[in-house]
């Protein structure tokens, strides 16, 4: 499509820069979307997509740069200003009120009144019906939102955005939880909205979808805008090579061949209702296995089952070290030497109000106690030793973990798992949000653990990480292991192409 003059721009972003903890996540990004345009935004994990979306929606202020929307220039938006300027964001799990009706959700904060502040339900419902009909949606306006499925909730969120007279709609991974029919319906809705003049920013890992729906596509890599391409005339391979880029600074050392030991973990026909479908897998002592795939493909679900986090509705059998392994609780798997390190450090990993030492000792506190009484001196010395081993900075075991950088927080979590005498480490995104130096260190520690006979299984969406760290890469899709790849000689583009291979959902 040809660019119209600036007057037709719905939103224009100039020179947006943002850093976290000294790490630059967005670097001088320019971005613009015309009225009536569907604009795809793609990039690897960590490329800066989600930060950029947060800045567009006003959830975070940029360090510098400018956002021009609705004819006004902003140094930073807050969410209220963003909404007032006509920007609406719909997440994959829309932020709506489950106990309110569809109509009440659409009109939340702008309910028609009868006077005396009383809400005019009938007017609200008829206006909601009218609005939904105009969008080609058939949703019962009086139904409680909680009774609708994810796709329908998303439609309500979009209707709400239209009601708010949004003229820029940000969609963040909108199809992650949808089936094909639901996704197709969403694409039709998106096209209709665009025809009516709405500017749509479409963020997704599903490149096929992005290509088919977008007029133009902006590619982010390492916080920089790499290119803006025409959606109609681009193909997936071209997109993949721009997303991956040529990494000239290959900091990771070559993988060294490790003597792989005897089989340690064995899965036979493991299924998990709705998440995993007949997975069989054997992992040896000393082996590092990378799991990957698109969101919902099953990599995280498999890690959760192996780590003993998810045991209901699981069928099939597992053995660990030759003995049956069917953990019913996390502490059973820890007892068997299986240690899980979650991606969400703050929410699920660390106890922020406690010190480094107390976080490291947490999963094996009993080894520091006799009759329930702790040996605090031993705890301090163990933690100091672990901090040195992991290059944890600062090496002050009494320091609260909340003061540590992301990289050091991840090391503290790894320290906890090592101290708990882990034989099998199950990690999710082990280096997400971590600086390059810490990433290299964490990879080195995992290799060292493997070389000493431990087994490592990690879930990652970071292509370079998968290739550098794993001995074997398993691509999951639809809850099945779809492909097994050797990282030797594998380049990131092929890996991304393997992840992107669409068998379960194709776009018209």
């Amino acid at each position: 499509m040809t660019m119209d003059p600036a007057a037709s721009l719905a939103i224009k972003v100039q020179g947006v820069t943002k850093s976290f903890l000294g790490q630059r996540v967005l670097d001088d990004v320019d971005f613009e979307v015309a009225r009536g345009e569907v604009h795809g935004l793609v990039g690897k994990n960590g490329a800066g997509k989600s930060t950029f979306m947060k800045i567009l929606s006003g959830a975070q202020p940029p360090d510098s740069g400018e956002i021009v929307v609705g004819g006004k220039a902003f140094k930073a938006l807050n969410p209220i200003e963003g909404r007032a300027a006509g920007i609406a964001i719909v997440y994959q799990n829309p932020e709506l009120h489950l106990d309110l009706s569809v109509a009440a959700n659409i009109f939340l904060g702008a309910e028609p009144r009868k006077g005396f502040g009383i809400i005019d339900d009938r007017a609200m419902e008829s206006r909601a019906t009218e609005l939904l009909a105009r969008l080609g949606l058939s949703l019962p306006v009086r139904t409680r939102l909680g009774e609708l499925d994810i796709a329908e909730r998303q439609q309500v969120a979009i209707a709400k955005a239209v009601r708010e007279q949004a003229h820029v709609l940000l969609l963040d991974e909108p199809t992650a939880a949808l089936n094909k029919a639901q996704a197709d319906f969403l694409f039709r809705l998106i096209r209709d909205l665009a025809k009516q003049g709405m500017a749509i920013v479409y963020v997704s890992h599903h490149l096929d979808e992005v290509l088919s729906i977008s007029d133009r596509i902006t590619i982010l890599r390492n916080g920089r805008k790499v290119a803006v391409v025409d959606g109609r005339s681009s193909d997936k391979d071209g997109l993949i090579s721009m997303i991956v880029g040529r990494s000239l600074d290959a900091v990771e050392p070559q993988r060294e061949a490790r003597a792989s030991g005897a089989p340690f973990l064995n899965l036979a026909g493991v299924s998990r209702e709705g998440r995993l479908d007949d997975v069989s897998l054997s992992v040896n002592k000393g082996e590092i296995v990378g799991l990957t795939g698109l969101v919902g493909g099953g990599a995280n679900a498999l890690a959760a089952v192996i780590a003993g986090l998810d045991h209901r509705q699981v069928s099939g059998s597992m053995t660990l070290g030759g003995e049956a392994y069917a953990p019913r609780a996390v502490r059973e798997s820890i007892g068997r030497g299986v240690l899980f390190i979650p991606e969400d450090m703050r929410g699920r990993g660390l106890v922020m109000s406690l010190s480094i030492a107390k976080n490291i000792s947490l999963a094996a506190l009993k080894s520091l106690a006799s009759m329930g009484w702790l040996n605090l001196g031993k705890e301090t010395s163990v933690a100091t030793e672990m901090a040195e081993r992991l290059d944890l900075n600062p090496r002050a075991p009494s320091r609260e973990v909340r003061f540590l950088s992301g990289g050091n927080q991840r090391k503290a979590l790894l320290g906890r798992a090592i101290f708990a005498d882990g034989q099998l480490f199950v990690l999710e995104e082990p280096t997400q949000g971590v600086d390059v130096e810490s990433q290299r260190q964490i990879h080195d520690h995992l290799r060292l653990l493997a070389s000493k006979g431990a087994t490592v299984i990690f879930v990652s969406t970071d292509l370079e990480e998968l290739i550098a760290l794993a001995d074997r890469i398993l691509v999951l899709r639809g809850g099945r292991i779809e492909q097994e790849l050797s990282p030797d000689g594998l380049d990131p583009e092929h890996l991304l192409a393997a992840i992107q291979t669409q068998s379960t959902r194709s776009v018209n």
């Binding site: 202020p61 929307v69 609705g70 004819g71 006004k72 902003f74 140094k75 930073a76 807050n78 200003e81 007032a84 300027a85 006509g86 007279q165 003229h167 003049g197 709405m198 986090l309 996390v330 502490r331 820890i334 007892g335 899980f340 979650p342 929410g347 699920r348 990993g349 660390l350 106890v351 922020m352 109000s353 406690l354 107390k358 947490l362 999963a363 506190l365 009993k366 106690a369 329930g372 009484w373 702790l374 605090l376 906890r416 708990a420």
Partner: protein
């Protein structure tokens, strides 16, 4: 499409916090305590007499025991509103048992045991339900108040004279026995929190329950144990208060829950859990005791006392260092 008028005002940064700008930090409580002592001592020299100071300690002793237990629960990001009513039940159990069996030991056992059982039941309800501790213990509080009334038949249960001789009248080196009991409770809670796995688990659960679970901590069992431990302190306070009052009353524990929680929060343990000290709680208990006592000595009318106490509690909480 036209956009509604958008104002270009910048969002204000965090409001300047006058309180924080005072920079008193962790010593706030100590400074407030000293201020009260100085003002009262100037207004009434009798305030600083040994007898009066011992009297203050005596008056806050049962509150101190209950607050010591409550500290553990707030650290787990929980709380127990039923402690006042449970204290009444424990006191009545003591008085009734002594009255009917004549055995002091059985009476003390009944009081302490009922406290532990009530605590364990609260813990089980909290550990196995989604409802918050606030709502669950609000329910058990009302239930226990009803049970206390049924137990007493609406009138005081007398006849625990031997208990009265110890806790109401007895002392050692001029210090009343209940004061020793309070200090022992505080020290016990300190030891549990700092030196035992149970105490550490309390901090971990309060700081991040999911992280605690993923670290293999049996969160439910630990919660039940901690609520039962809190119940132990409530039971002890019930026995002692029965001695002090020389009888069991269905209303003897009324108001303990809120004063205990106030003391813990004044002492710097946040309601969101994950951190806190029992020494802070002791400070909070002393603050409450000192304020009541100084108001009496300064001749503040009874009608004003509750309002003044409320003001001071609010001020003390606002002055706390932000976590």
């Amino acid at each position: 499409m036209t956009s509604p008028a958008a104002t270009v005002t910048q969002p204000t940064a965090s409001k300047p916090n006058f309180v924080r700008s005072l920079g008193l930090g962790r010593f706030t409580l100590l400074i407030v305590l000293l201020l009260i002592v100085v003002v009262t001592a100037i207004g009434n020299p009798r305030f600083l007499s040994i007898n009066n100071l011992l009297n203050i300690l005596f008056q806050v002793s049962t509150l101190g025991i209950v607050a010591a237990g409550q500290t553990i629960l707030l650290i787990t990001a929980g709380l127990d509103l039923s402690v006042g009513a449970a204290l009444s039940v424990a006191g009545l159990a003591t008085a009734l048992t002594v009255m009917s069996t004549g055995s002091l030991a059985l009476g003390i056992g009944a009081g302490v045991a009922s406290g532990i059982v009530i605590g364990a039941v609260n813990g089980m309800l909290i550990a196995t339900n989604r409802a918050t501790p606030f709502i669950i213990t609000l329910g058990t509080m009302t239930l226990l108040q009803g049970i206390a009334i049924l137990m007493s038949g609406g009138s005081p249960i007398n006849g625990a004279g031997a208990l009265f001789n110890v806790f109401g009248m007895g002392d050692f080196l001029r210090v009343p026995w209940p004061v020793y009991a309070m200090l022992l409770s505080i020290v016990a809670v300190f030891l549990v929190l700092r030196f035992t796995t149970l105490g550490r688990y309390a901090f971990a659960i309060g700081g991040n329950e999911e992280a605690a679970r993923l670290s293999g901590i049996p969160v439910r069992r630990i919660k039940i144990a901690l609520y039962a431990l809190n119940g132990l302190f409530v039971g002890i306070a019930g026995v002692i208060l029965t001695g002090i009052l020389n009888s069991g009353l269905p209303s003897m524990g009324t108001g303990y829950e809120l004063r205990a929680i106030a003391a813990v929060v004044i002492g710097g343990t946040p309601l969101i859990g994950g951190r806190g000290t029992v020494w802070g709680t002791l400070g909070g208990v002393l603050l409450l005791g000192l304020v009541s006592n100084s108001m009496n000595l300064l001749g503040v009318g009874a009608n004003f006392q509750s309002a003044v106490l409320g003001l001071i509690i609010t001020a003390a909480v606002l002055l706390q260092k932000k976590a």
